[in-house]
């Protein structure tokens, strides 16, 4: 070999070294790809999935729902219950049914800067939460707490103004570090812009999980390193980087080219994309699907005279072959929904009306409802008006657009002319849905929690109006006295068996009345490297990162 050739060889070597993707060469690092960057890091302002995902690495709630869908303690010693004396029934000052629940924070618990986590933090969090000026998104949960008793530095009792069955679950009570945040809270109006979570986001004192955030670059990535003060099991990775890549084609490309190690299931690829990915690269990556509590459905505008007829709503559902959508489009990974309650939920009841694909029944119901005649394949009523609806969803959401077109095609076979009119999410959720401006159908998803009472979506008082500031999520305008009673009673019934009966009834009404057309439960798809073990999808709103210390590397 001549000298010049050698030199060229060396140059190529150097070049290829420069151009090689640098990420994740050593396996004590992990790079996770997601599609969204959190807007604020404050745990109680503006709830969003992207934030709970990264907070799973750095923070622990007092209680949480685990992968078996049971409420467990993370920061507390034992879960309070009437049986163990941790919870005591009591009357509030104005004579209503209340409850007192006692928690003890585990002794080892401390913030990332070594300050112990104490009742001071609990009380401070409560003060911020219930202060109307603080900018906390929802202060309902804090206002329910009438007072807090300080038993000792680590033990406290909440006095709550009502008796709900989930009294022991305080997973929404995200602790704030009083030693850092109290100074920022001196003027509550300015708190949301002053909070250390956003002005000093890498302060270790904000965290109490296995990792602390050491870098946050807006819109790009966040870096997490081991928290030396973490008291629990030692996590496997020295460093975790969460990279945000919104475009899913680029996200996949990064996975294939080694820029990232895995794609988060919570905020990553849709099932159809994941299936296509698996088909091609299933040998190199482990793809797991977990159906969850994301309920895809079509809200029906019940004020629409056509849709106020129950026969019409049933006919619409009978005319759909949801099973083949689930199987062909989603590889059977996203089960057909019959009501808003997920089959994984313990309150789920299967013996409610199912509307399996049945074109004859659909036709019969439509005939009965007065839409016998057909012209160019579209049904008409006696007045010669065509049977036509408008369906809306979030423009640019690929999966929904696909499903929408399948539905449209299936309805057309049944003689129903459904027109698609989609809007950007910004408009769709910003006004059309929240202010009930859709004419017939709005397709979107609800993200709920295990045994979550669908009060805001089904109670007649939750219909958004200008008077109630367009709050409430009963967008269909569903009114049913028995449903209202059930919703109220389920919430306050402490006896599991009695509750199960009521839940059963609730699902019966839902399936019989069909305020919305249930479609399917969305599944999260996790694309993981073969060597990553111990990541267990939960199927509910708590992300896998809350158990990051169980993730391990196997060779």
């Amino acid at each position: 070999m001549t000298k010049s050739k050698q030199r060229i060889g060396a140059a190529i070597l150097a070049l290829s070294f420069i151009f090689l993707p640098i990420a994740a060469m050593a396996k004590n690092d992990l790079v996770i790809g997601t599609t969204q960057y959190p807007s604020t890091f404050h745990p109680n302002i503006d709830s969003m999935l992207a934030k709970s995902y990264v907070h799973g690495l750095t923070r622990r709630p007092i209680t949480v729902i685990d992968a078996d869908w049971k409420t467990i303690c993370l920061l507390c010693e034992t879960l309070p219950a009437l049986e163990n004396g941790g919870a005591v029934l009591e009357k509030t000052a104005d004579g209503k049914d209340g409850i007192a629940v006692r928690y003890k924070i585990i002794d080892a618990a401390q913030w990332g800067d070594g300050t112990p986590i104490t009742v001071d933090d609990v009380i401070f969090t409560w003060e911020v939460g219930k202060n109307p000026k603080s900018g906390v998104s929802s202060n309902e949960a804090y206002r329910r707490i009438l007072s807090i008793d300080r038993i000792d530095d680590r033990t406290f009792t909440f006095h709550i103004d009502r008796r709900t069955f989930d009294y022991s679950d305080i997973s929404q009570f995200n602790l704030l570090p009083a030693h850092i945040e109290r100074a920022k809270f001196s003027t509550p109006e300015a708190y949301r812009t002053q909070t250390a979570f956003d002005t000093d986001a890498t302060n270790p004192g904000l965290f109490m999980g296995p990792y602390v955030m050491t870098q946050a670059k807006t819109g790009s990535h966040m870096v997490f390193e081991r928290n030396p003060k973490w008291w629990g099991k030692k996590p496997a990775f020295d460093k975790i980087t969460v990279r945000v890549i919104e475009n899913t084609a680029t996200l996949e490309a990064n996975l294939l080219s080694g820029g990232i190690d895995m794609i988060a299931g919570e905020l990553g690829l849709n099932v159809d994309q994941a299936l296509a990915f698996e088909k091609r690269h299933g040998k190199k990556f482990a793809v797991t699907y977990k159906p969850g509590l994301i309920y895809e459905h079509i809200d029906l505008m019940l004020d629409n005279p056509l849709l106020s007829d129950i026969r019409m709503r049933q006919a619409l559902l009978y005319a759909l072959d949801r099973k083949s959508i689930s199987e062909k489009l989603f590889g059977g990974k996203q089960p057909v929904a019959h009501t808003s309650i997920n089959p994984l939920d313990w309150v789920y009841a299967d013996d409610v009306a199912h509307y399996d694909f049945n074109p004859e029944k659909a036709a019969a119901l439509l005939d009965q409802a007065g839409w016998q005649n057909k012209k160019n394949g579209i049904r008409e009523n006696a007045a010669g008006e065509p049977l036509r609806f408008e369906i809306m969803t979030t423009a640019g959401n690929r999966t929904r657009e696909l499903v929408e077109q399948v539905l449209q095609s299936q309805w057309k076979t049944a003689g129903i002319d459904v027109r698609i009119k989609n809007e950007p999410a910004r408009v769709f959720f910003g006004e059309t849905v929240t202010q009930r401006k859709f004419q017939a159908m709005a397709m979107f998803a609800w993200i709920s929690a295990p045994e979550s009472v669908p009060r805001t979506t089904l109670h007649s008082e939750e219909i958004p109006t200008a008077e109630n500031n367009w709050s409430g999520q009963n967008y269909t305008g569903f009114k049913n006295a028995e449903m209202d009673t059930l919703l109220r009673n389920i919430e306050t019934e402490l006896d599991r068996d009695k509750r199960k009966v009521m839940w059963h009834r609730l699902q019966q009404i839902y399936a019989a009345e069909l305020p919305a057309l249930p479609l399917y439960f969305r599944a999260d798809s996790y694309i993981l490297p073969k060597w990553l073990k111990g990541l267990t999808p939960t199927g509910h709103q708590f992300p896998t990162t809350l158990w990051v210390e169980n993730w391990s590397v196997s060779r």
Binding site: T248, A249, E252, A253, L256, N270, D272, Q273, A276, F277, K279, R280, S324, I325, K328, L329, R388, E390, A395, G396, N397, R398, E401, L402, E404, Q405, V406, Q408, S409, Q410, K412, R419, I420, K421, N422, E423, P424, R426, V427, E431
Partner: protein
């Protein structure tokens, strides 16, 4: 800057055609475009010939390979790719042509009016034009996407039609796209109105509108045609970009832009689905550009290269 000057149309149509024919790339482009337009127009016939339906979803035939029944295979919902592309071509070409035409008409009217009136009116109109150029298109799009067309008094047949998104795009492009033509026309009008033949017409007592439309406008035809042809391609490209952002033509109405955007999700798995619409957009846009270039040479041989500088 306004370096363009208008020239009377060359009355010898033959020499125009001759000059156009000499621009080989433009001729090839015109042929390709002609074939594409013909195919798009024939979409229903081809659909019938293949015995498929562009709208009927067949979940059992997703991502089908090329076959006699489906020359380019089937897409993610089992629909024939070729037929969908042809229908998409209708939409994309329609958007490109109507939107630029509308923009050209508005721009011509405004430019003619401003240029002929001159003085304060002209200055005001030109400041407004500058403002429109600086206007952010994105919020405008979202606002228009949310406007309740029913309240604007439009007939129900338009409001509930599935191609509302198509009219929206056309409206937006027309609303923001007229500025190029307006500037061009205004500059030419300014210089034309001092020409002897215009002054003569005025002296004979022809009224303002007659002078504007009968005497000045015909002389502006060539720069307008060239500018319009060149921007058809840009509009088709713009539609694809808007589709990418979820603000373009809405499914189920196919357009090359939204077919391409849909396919990019599975580009690693089914690259063909993304390749065809991308190629079609590319070829069409480039063809329009060459035809514009050729027309420029043909219609206005002397000023041809000067005007090229105006239109990009």
């Amino acid at each position: 800057m306004s370096i363009a000057t208008a020239r009377p149309i060359d009355v010898h149509a033959n020499s125009v055609v001759d000059r156009f024919m000499r621009h080989r790339l433009a001729v090839i482009s015109a042929i390709i475009l002609g074939v594409l337009v013909a195919l798009a127009l024939l979409a229903p016939a081809i659909e019938a010939m293949l015995g498929t339906n562009a709208e009927t979803v067949d979940l059992l035939a997703r991502y089908g390979p090329a076959s006699a029944a489906h020359p380019l295979g089937t897409d993610e919902l089992g629909r024939d790719v070729l037929v969908r592309l042809l229908y998409g071509g209708r939409v994309s070409l329609f958007v490109g042509l109507t939107a630029t035409l509308a923009a050209a008409i508005i721009g011509t009217a405004i430019g003619l009016f401003a240029g002929y009136a001159g003085g304060r009116v002209d200055a005001l109109v030109m400041r407004v034009t500058d403002g429109v150029i600086a206007l952010p298109v994105l919020p405008l799009l979202i606002v228009l996407a949310a406007v309740d067309l029913g309240k604007l008094g439009l007939p129900d047949s338009i409001v509930s039609a599935e191609n509302v998104s198509l009219y929206r795009i056309v409206a937006i492009v027309a609303l923001v796209g007229w500025t190029t033509v307006a500037r061009l026309v205004r500059a030419s009008t300014l210089s034309l109105k001092t020409r002897p033949f215009i002054l003569a017409a005025q002296a004979q007592g022809a009224d303002k509108f007659r002078v504007m439309f009968r005497h000045i406008l015909p002389n502006l035809a060539s720069p307008i045609i060239v500018a319009t042809t060149l921007s058809v391609g840009n509009v088709i490209l713009l539609e694809s970009v808007l589709s990418f952002l979820g603000l373009g033509i809405q499914p189920p109405l196919p357009s090359w832009g939204n077919i391409l955007t849909g396919a990019q999700n599975t580009i690693w798995e089914a690259p063909g689905l993304a390749f065809y619409p991308g190629m079609l957009i590319f070829v069409t846009v480039i063809a329009f550009n060459f035809i514009g270039d050729g027309l420029q040479d043909a219609l206005d041989p002397r000023a041809r290269d000067r005007r090229a500088a105006e239109q990009h």
